[in-house]
Symmetry: C2
Subunit: 376 residues, 2 copies
């Protein structure tokens, strides 16, 4: 069975790594032979995930289609599925999750709490909401990731400047700025038959909407963690997920709300490569090929720190020896990407039962690799 | 730095898997695009490891040459090194280890005990030794692996039949059959600067000279295990190893003797992929590229069982779902090889502190994948 992965980023790259022991063949749709996954994958097609023609040609060359990112021609997916191509997750699930308005509606229908939000489509509506005072968060309904497409707005001025840059007709969610006690994330993996595994919830430490650190398992109370696990399982059912569904949550004084979903392996699950019995990537491949799922148990507590680019810093590949020398037990993962400011270039996982020490160890390795400072 | 691996078997395949997170580029010299590693590696040359020309062309296309097997034109390696190509391990080390006579001599010079052996080059000499009575083991000095090139002989008749098949001039080691209490193996990884790490010694369970099961760490007494560790470290120094040196030992009533060396990643270290902080493959790549070595510590006790082909059985890839269903926490590794009797097609590792249960779990998965029965 040939698994076709739309996209050639680090998620596809780590899928390739985890496909090798299972003998699963991967074929990629990439924008360039220099994409992180194309550098390590023997089979790829060059094309655009936003071209219906390229997607069709690609789907015809594989047995099942899955995804590395969401910047995909969504209605082309519907057409492929109608024509009998196998998409996992399905076009309906993928389209729902890729659209924040539909995603929030699906969660709401399932009784899953989400942040209070208003859907607006004009600069005037946004200005009116923001004029009421208080901080707001503006989120583009489509195409945002990794903090992009999310804007923090405290004054009407900021809002109008921002909206001047947004294309007319763009759908925007406007939310009040919540007072967050913490952020959590949960990786669920669901099979076509509805069977599923849930990884231990993790705490995530974000800066400007970009994940900088993952603490696994989550450091919140058992009550919160159990609630997170239950919400994630219900979210996966609500959107009929197949493969990984990553469920990101806010903890506020009022409780947990589900903020974001991703229907693909996710940055908040990278620790599973080194600290879990089965990684999120292996389980994603097992789910989309209809194979039985593997145990999500952690064999170690772990901290993962992202390696985020700094303008003008050296290629982390050139600093690899320095990074490895800092800590002989750290797990360094490089994505083969050129350095750009705020770009995710890799991650570092440290397994250590002493949480504070794990944070410090991971941070020191990231910093030796030239990455931005890790929140401690 | 491009690492050139001579050979495209499962060892090269697992090196590719472990090279991905480190961003190390691998190029292979393979006999066919269907070789296990070529199936998952984006860059390979097709050629013969026994052709001096093919080896030279290959060495010219990479930064450092390392090995997946020993069936290599050895004097061509000496010439490459003289011409300034970087070989790790070096041609001297590789040539010594690939020749049982030189290997035993090097160990003897370092005061490391080896099985009593006589080196013979004619059928008459062998017949004379065997005629003295008692069981003997005949080992070809070159080219043996995985039980091949090793013959158990109890009568002069068996010996002459066997030697009729051996080319004149072949060098043969003749050893008395030892009464083995156990077999152990130790993976040492050594850097060009002589720094090294030693993995916990393991117990190996062999049938007809072929490894069937590895118990990690070894189940023998602490005294024996400490002695094994020390012998392995000394052996790596004695042959000036760079990269993995696998050291196989016999435990007899008289103590430990070093029976065999391999200057490459080895079947007795496959558990390190799933049970150690750093796998033998990652550490081999780190050593041959001059990067600092990683921690060899085990995070779990583990049992690895080899998946050995049975004539006429189904492709384990077609039985993967059955194998995964048996045990959601087992680690299945398939090598992408066609089924042949007695051929290593994959391995299964189970991490479990209860040793007997681990053996049983690994054996059940191997058997579900169509492999030969695992010794319990």
């Amino acid at each position: 069975m040939v698994v076709g992965v739309v996209g050639g980023g680090q998620l596809a790259r780590m899928m390739i790594q985890e496909a090798i022991p299972l003998g699963i063949e991967i074929r990629l749709l990439v924008t360039s032979p220099d994409d992180p996954a194309a550098l390590v994958g023997p089979r790829f097609a060059v094309g655009s995930a936003q071209s219906a023609d390229d997607l069709r040609r690609f789907a015809e060359s594989v047995d099942v289609v899955t995804f590395d990112h969401e910047v995909v021609h969504l209605s082309a997916l519907d057409a492929l599925e109608r024509d009998g191509h196998l998409l996992r997750p399905g076009a309906g699930t993928f389209g729902t999750v890729a659209d924040k308005v539909r995603m929030r509606a699906a969660l709401g229908d399932a009784g899953i709490p989400t942040p209070p939000a208003q859907v607006v489509t004009s600069a005037e509506e946004v200005a009116a909401l923001v004029a009421n005072g208080g901080g707001h968060v503006l989120k583009l309904a489509h195409g945002g990731y990794d903090g992009r497409g999310t804007f923090f707005v405290d004054t009407p001025d900021q809002s109008s400047r921002l909206l001047g840059e947004v294309r007319p007709g763009t759908v925007v969610l406007v939310e009040p700025r919540l007072d967050l006690l913490a952020e959590l994330a949960v990786i669920v993996v669901r099979s076509p038959d509805g069977s599923h595994v849930v990884y231990d919830p993790v705490s995530t430490i974000q800066i400007d909407g970009q994940c900088r650190r993952v603490d696994a398992p989550a450091t919140q109370s058992d009550d919160v963690v159990d609630l997170a696990r239950g919400l994630a399982r219900r979210a996966a059912e609500a959107v009929d997920a197949v493969g990984v569904l990553a469920v990101e949550m806010f903890l506020t004084a009022e409780g947990l709300v589900v903020n974001e979903l991703a229907a693909r392996p996710h940055n908040t699950g990278h620790h599973t490569l080194d600290a879990a019995v089965t990684s999120q990537f292996a389980n994603h491949l097992r789910a989309v090929t209809g194979l039985p799922l593997g145990s999500p148990d952690l064999h170690s507590r772990a901290v993962t720190a992202n390696l985020i680019g700094v303008d003008g810093s050296r290629d982390p590949a050139a600093l690899l020896g320095d990074g490895l020398a800092v800590d002989p037990a750290a797990h360094i993962h490089l994505y083969g990407k050129a350095v750009r400011h705020d770009r995710k270039l890799g991650h570092v996982t440290v397994c250590d039962d002493d949480h504070d020490r794990a944070v410090d160890r991971a941070a020191r390795v990231v910093e030796a690799l030239g990455g931005q400072e890790v929140p401690r």
